[in-house]
C-alpha cells in the first residue's frame, strides 16, 4: 500500500486518482501508524512552505523512521522542497534535510509562478525516469525552486537551471506534477510503483 501523506496541502485526490488509474492501491492518511505500515510513501503538495508545519511531530517522525528503513519516498512539488534543508518562503521552518540546500524564489526577470509545460533535461542515471525520453514535457506550477545539487538527475531551465528531479537511493523528489503531466507523468508514477 502506498501512503499519501495528508498534511492539508491540497492536490491529494489527484495523486490518488493517478494511482487508482494505474491499478496500485493507495490511501490518503495522516495516521503515523498507517505510514509505518506503508510499502511506499508519497508527499504531495502545492502551496506555501508554511503548510509543512503540519508535518511536524509524530507525522515527521513516522516519515523519517520509514525512510531510515529504506521505504521509498516520493516528494512532489512542495513535498520535494520539504526534502531540502529549508525554503526562503518560510525561513523559520526546517525541511527534512535529505538533500542539501535552500529553496528560493525565481529571479524577478521571469514571471512567477512558473506555470505550464516545460522540458525535463535528464542529467543522471535514474530509476524514477526510466523510459522517459530526453526533453519530455511535464507540468510545473510553483513560485519557489530547489537548487541543482549532487542528487539532481533532472534539471529544468527557467530563469536559470533548477532541480526538477532529485534521486538518491530510495529517495525521490519531483518539482513538477506527474499526476498532471499526461502519459509522461503516469509513466513516472508507474516507475515509482514498480520500484
Amino acid at each position: 500500500m502506498i501512503a499519501i501523506v495528508d498534511y492539508q496541502a491540497g492536490n491529494l485526490a489527484s495523486v490518488k486518482k493517478a494511482f487508482d488509474h494505474l491499478g496500485y492501491e493507495s490511501a490518503i492518511t495522516a495516521d503515523p501508524a498507517a505510514i509505518a505500515r506503508a510499502d511506499k510513501i508519497v508527499l504531495p503538495g502545492v502551496g506555501n512552505f508554511e503548510a509543512t508545519t503540519a508535518l511536524s511531530g509524530t507525522l515527521r517522525e513516522a516519515v523519517v523512521k520509514a525512510i531510515d528503513g529504506q521505504v521509498p519516498l516520493l516528494g512532489i512539488c512542495l513535498g520535494m522542497q520539504w526534502m531540502f534543508e529549508s525554503s526562503r518562503e518560510a525561513p523559520q521552518l526546517r525541511g527534512l534535510s535529505l538533500f542539501a540546500g535552500e529553496c528560493e524564489k525565481f529571479p524577478a526577470a521571469v514571471k512567477s509562478p512558473h506555470v505550464g509545460w516545460n522540458q525535463l533535461w535528464v542529467t543522471g542515471a535514474s530509476r524514477l525516469l526510466r523510459a522517459l525520453p530526453q526533453d519530455s514535457f511535464v507540468y510545473f506550477t510553483h513560485s519557489y525552486r530547489a537548487p541543482v545539487v549532487e542528487a539532481t538527475v533532472g534539471k529544468c531551465e527557467y530563469g536559470g537551471p533548477f532541480s526538477a528531479v532529485v534521486e538518491r537511493g530510495q529517495l525521490f523528489g519531483v518539482q513538477f506534477h506527474p499526476e498532471k503531466s499526461g502519459t509522461t507523468g503516469l509513466q513516472l508514477l508507474r516507475n515509482f510503483c514498480e520500484l
Partner: protein, 257 residues
C-alpha cells in the same frame, strides 16, 4: 523551454457543454467529462470548465460534473463559475479541480483571492476578467464587466488585473467580450495591455477562429496561454493541427503531446 499553452474551455450550463455568441444564443455541444477527455487526448495542455450560468442563476457549481470530469483527466483542470467563498472553492478542489477561477465575487470582495491563495496557493487561483472596449479614439479604455457580461462595474481592466495580482492571483484569464464567439481573432491590444501590467501568466480568451489568431495573440499579444471553446468542440480546428501550425510558426509548443 516553457511552452505557450493551448487551453480547451468547456462552457457548461445545466450539466451540458454549450457555446454562445457574445454570452448568449447557447447551443448544446456535448457531455463535459467526455469532451474534456477527448480534448486531453487531442493535445490540449489544460482544460477549463466554466459553469456559465452559476452566478447569474445563483446556482452552486455542478460538483458532480467536476468530479466526473476530473476522474480520468491527467492534465491541469480548472473550474469556475459561481465561486463566491472559500467554502465554494474548497468544494470544487475536493471534487478534483486543480485551480479555480473567480470573477464577480472577487470584484465584490478582492480579499477572497487572498483567502483562497493562502489555503491552496496562488498557483491555484485564477482571476477571470471579462473586458469590454468602452469609448472611442483616445478615450477608449478596457472596462470590466461582471456577472456573465451583463453588468458594467466602472472598473478599468488593467487596474483590476494589477490589484488581483497583488491580492494573490496566480494567473489572469482575460476574456474579450467584444470578440467572444466571433471567431475573428483575439483582442491582442487588450492582451498586451494586461501582460505588460502584471508579472503573472495571462490567458487570452475570446475570438479564436483560426491558427493565425493564436500566432497573433502569442506574438503580438504576448499571451502566455490561449483559450478557446467552440473551434475545438465543433471540430473546426483539431488541437493537434493547431499546435503543429504554431510550432511551424516558431511558437514553442508541447509537442508531441
Amino acid at each position: 523551454m516553457l511552452t505557450k499553452r493551448i487551453i480547451a474551455c468547456l462552457d457548461v450550463d445545466a450539466g451540458r457543454v454549450v457555446k454562445g455568441v457574445q454570452f448568449s444564443d447557447l447551443r448544446d455541444a456535448g457531455d463535459p467529462a467526455e469532451l474534456a477527455l477527448a480534448h486531453g487526448r487531442a493535445g490540449a495542455d489544460e482544460v477549463v470548465l466554466l459553469d456559465i450560468s452559476a452566478t447569474y442563476e445563483n446556482r452552486s457549481t455542478l460538483l458532480d460534473v467536476v468530479r466526473r470530469t476530473a476522474r480520468q483527466l491527467f492534465i491541469p483542470f480548472t473550474v469556475g463559475g459561481g465561486i463566491r467563498s472559500l467554502d465554494d472553492a474548497a468544494a470544487v478542489f475536493d471534487a478534483g479541480a486543480d485551480k479555480v477561477t473567480v470573477n464577480s465575487a472577487a470584484l465584490a470582495d478582492p480579499a477572497l483571492i487572498g483567502r483562497i491563495a493562502h489555503r491552496y496557493g496562488s498557483q491555484a487561483v485564477i482571476v477571470a476578467i471579462d473586458a469590454l472596449r468602452v469609448g472611442n479614439g483616445n478615450e477608449m479604455h478596457f472596462g470590466v464587466k461582471t456577472t456573465g457580461g451583463r453588468h458594467p462595474t466602472g472598473r478599468d481592466v488593467v487596474e483590476w488585473a494589477r490589484e488581483a495580482e497583488q491580492c494573490g492571483a496566480g494567473e489572469i484569464l482575460l476574456t474579450s467580450i467584444d470578440r467572444d464567439g466571433m471567431r475573428d481573432g483575439f483582442d491582442c491590444e487588450l492582451t498586451r495591455a494586461v501582460v505588460g501590467a502584471v508579472n503573472v501568466p495571462v490567458i487570452a480568451s475570446g475570438g479564436a477562429g483560426a491558427a493565425e489568431h493564436f500566432v497573433d495573440v502569442f506574438r503580438d499579444g504576448r499571451a502566455d496561454a490561449a483559450l478557446a471553446a467552440s473551434i475545438f468542440h465543433l471540430g473546426i480546428t483539431p488541437i493537434g493541427d493547431l499546435k503543429q501550425e504554431l510550432q511551424n510558426a516558431g511558437i514553442p509548443m508541447r509537442w508531441p503531446c
